[in-house]
Symmetry: C2
Subunit: 146 residues, 2 copies
DNA sequence: ATTTAGATTAGAATGATTCTAATATTAGAA
DNA sequence: TTCTAATATTAGAATCATTCTAATCTAAAT
């Protein structure tokens, strides 16, 4: 809380109640929220908050490398406050996203003709699968209601 | 051409001139086009073609596993007629996408606690980098005009 | 307390994608 | 070939995520 605020103030990031609420929501959050998830949550405490503020703040944080955008979902961007290099697995049924902390960089060597054409700067592995809960639902039967 | 058409007819995929144009455009295409790229190209021969047809056809092909959707671009979906398992590298400056045919699956082992929670079905590596052309532009100076 | 750079806001604009409902075509049957 | 049913096409509207605009407000430095 206080440390969090101090950290951003030091970096010259102007703090407002809305921004603090967003930072608090993101701090330690492992749910990989999309912009709308953040908006809904902040709105509880700041009913007048606007979508623009959420997007502006996310952009500012992204530009300062304080959050990462992840491209695992075909529909929308998700945000990740955990900047440690890691990968993700997403449930193709319910879109639940989990972290995969595993360093594959040794193995992810590019073929020479690609190295020749691109100067690689980053890599990210997307795993797809079905989570436990969705496995059960599929097995147990199709629908919950007739 | 003929084999291509025969292949789809056999599979009960109803063929229309527009669909054939889309299939031809995709066949052997390594450019990873987005829907709009396909639309623009088909429009040359079928000026009345609609966006809906392009999207409908892409959906039908995707459902039949005849094209893959790729999530490497934050802005939009790209389509890939090459179904062999492979990965991609995208230029963060110009969005050029290239194929990376390299099998990393041996190395991409998931941690046990993830295996416990997810039944993994697929994986895809996104590499990010800067292509040769964009490297030159950056080095040579900032802008082409004053 | 004053000042100003930067943040907030509602709402409009944009861009990608999906939906709708009327019309037209394909492909198989007669 | 002609008929028919199933399916595809179309323009345009609708939706959803995201960005932009321009007026107003506020953090935080002086
Ligand atoms: Mn993560
Ligand atoms: Mn490819
Ligand atoms: Zn799930
Ligand atoms: Zn480039």
């Amino acid at each position: 809380m206080k440390e969090l605020i101090a950290k951003y103030r030091e970096k010259g990031f102007k703090l407002t109640p809305q921004r603090i609420a967003i930072l608090k929501f993101l701090d330690g959050n492992t749910s990989h929220p999309a912009a709308n998830d953040i908006y809904r949550n902040i709105k509880k405490d700041y009913p007048t908050v606007s979508f623009a503020t959420v997007y502006n703040t996310l952009q500012a944080l992204r530009d300062r490398r304080e959050v990462a955008e992840i491209t695992i979902d075909f529909q929308k961007k998700h945000y990740d406050p955990d900047l440690r290099p890691h990968h993700h697995i997403i449930c193709t049924e319910c879109n639940k996203i989990a972290d995969v902390f595993q360093d594959y960089s040794e193995a992810l060597r590019l073929p020479y003709h690609i190295k020749d054409e691109f100067q690689a700067t980053a890599n990210h592995v997307n795993f797809y699968g079905i989570c436990k809960k969705c496995q059960k639902i599929k097995k147990g039967g199709t629908k919950l209601c007739a």
